[in-house]
């Protein structure tokens, strides 16, 4: 096991995960800026590719939350894009995926947790939103609360565990077997990165959609 890199500015400690996240953010922002510099009504190949990605995300979101798809599109799409790039960042030699850090996955899970409440209250109102915790019976309130916490914790732990274990397995195989031995594991890393990004984003989408539509059949 390796020691984590830290840069300390007083009480603020900047870890390697944060720095990698900044790199990922910069890469995503640059790609976004480059791909949307000259948007035309008749798109070129780059614009077409970008539009395909966004349209696919949009359709996936609309399939789950048809009434509020555009409202949560930026959050979910950013989650997917960030997690995809962040998960794949571990393939670059010398870098590690930020999502192998529990602090990062917890931050993302907490963001999903609060976003669900935020969008739920925004769409349903505070009273209506809180009412769903008491339905179908107030007795279920503790279970609702436990569910909220557990699913958030599960989001964080699932992503963290999968990505960390993959990187650790690749590192162990590299140490034990040699230079080219971890290549199958790295290929598995690619698939796992895609799958985990999709799972995290899809679960977040379902949580947000559930929060926004929890009272709609009654209303």
């Amino acid at each position: 096991m390796e020691n984590e890199f830290y840069v300390a500015f007083g009480p603020l400690m900047i870890s390697g995960s944060v720095i990698t996240t900044w790199g990922v953010m910069l890469a995503i922002a640059c790609l976004a800026w480059l791909s949307t510099r000259h948007l035309e009504k008749l798109p070129d190949s780059v614009q077409t590719s970008v539009e395909i990605v966004v349209s696919a995300i949009d359709e996936a979101i609309l399939a789950v939350a048809p009434q509020h798809g555009r409202q949560i599109l930026p959050f979910i799409a950013t989650l997917w894009l960030f997690l995809l790039i962040a998960n794949l960042a571990g393939l670059i030699p010398g870098l590690h995926s930020p999502t192998r850090d529990l602090s990062v996955t917890c931050a993302l899970a907490v963001l999903v947790f609060f976003s669900a409440h935020w969008f739920g209250i925004k769409n349903l109102g505070l009273k209506n939103y809180l009412r769903h915790y008491l339905s179908p019976s107030p007795i279920l309130l503790p279970f609702h609360l436990i569910s909220e916490l557990s699913r958030t914790l599960a989001l964080a732990i699932r992503l963290f565990g999968n990505i960390m274990s993959l990187e650790m397995a690749a590192m162990l195989i590299l140490l034990v077997a040699g230079f080219l031995a971890p290549i199958p594991i790295l290929m598995l890393h690619i698939i796992e990165a895609l799958v985990q990004a999709y799972i995290f984003g899809m679960l977040a989408l379902i949580y947000l959609a559930g929060a926004m539509q929890s009272q709609q059949p009654n209303s």
């Binding site: 953010m25 349209s55 799409a77 950013t78 931050a107």
Partner: protein, 251 residues
């Protein structure tokens, strides 16, 4: 250790994600979705325009079809009218043609009847000529001095019963001193007949008379008496000539 929870990282990651969300919202989603929306709007507008154009085309097609039906009806009506006009004109032309044909037929009938009449006259003339020729041949074969004597006797008898106009004209001849009378006959006239004839002529004409006798075979049979400008004929040639003149008169 990675399993450790770092509060700084936790909050920095939250901030990082919110910044990334803001940046992508500004740089990526918003312009891209706007372009997609514009394109969709453009496509919808194009589709709407196409639908409008299609509806207009269908309306024009319906109008054209209606107009075509009207044209068809007008064409049929015009065709019926034209057929009626053609029928009327045909009847008119047919009647006119029948009338012309009737006129031509009448003209042809008149022409044919006239030709038939002329042909008939020519045939009659030819028949008369043939008859005259035949009579001439027959009379030439049958002529004789006895026939001539009979004709001369007949002339002598007729001289007694001449019309008054003739006798008056003969009397006017006495103003001349000598009146030459030329008597022609186909055969040589017997003396007896000459004397009877001379006596008869002297009885009709007061004055000096000289008689000259000639033989003219062209008379066939009979005599011809020339008194000054007078000519008395009692011969077959003269009768046949009169017969031929009659034939010409008939034609």
């Amino acid at each position: 250790m990675l399993m450790d929870f770092n509060v700084s990282t936790f909050f920095l990651e939250i901030i990082n994600f919110l910044i990334l969300l803001w940046v992508l919202q500004r740089l990526f989603y918003k312009p891209l979705l706007e372009v997609i929306a514009k394109r969709k709007s453009f496509i919808d507008q194009t589709v709407a325009d196409a639908n409008t154009t299609k509806q207009q085309a269908e309306a024009l097609r319906d109008q054209y079809q209606n107009r075509q039906q009207q044209w068809e009806q007008e064409k049929q009506a015009a065709l019926v009218s034209l057929n009626q006009q053609i029928e009327a004109e045909r009847s008119l032309q047919l009647n006119k043609l029948r009338s012309d044909l009737e006129d031509e037929k009448q003209k042809l009938q008149v022409s044919v009847s006239r030709q038939q009449e002329e042909f008939k006259k020519l045939a009659e003339k030819q028949a008369l000529k043939n008859g005259a020729r035949f009579a001439v041949l027959l009379l030439q074969q049958t002529a004789s001095d006895e026939l001539e004597a009979k004709l001369t006797s007949l002339l002598i008898d007729k001289l007694s019963s001449l019309p008054n106009d003739c006798t008056s004209s003969l009397h006017l001849l006495k103003t001349q001193k000598t009146i030459p009378i030329k008597i022609s006959s186909a055969y040589l006239m017997p003396v007896e007949l000459r004397k009877q004839l001379e006596l008869k002529l002297k009885a009709l004409i007061d004055g000096t008379i000289t008689f000259h006798y000639f033989q003219a075979e062209e008379l066939i049979a009979g005599v011809r008496i020339d008194i000054d400008s007078w000519e008395l004929n009692a011969n077959l040639q003269h009768e046949l000539s009169a017969f031929a003149e009659l034939a010409d008169e008939i034609v």
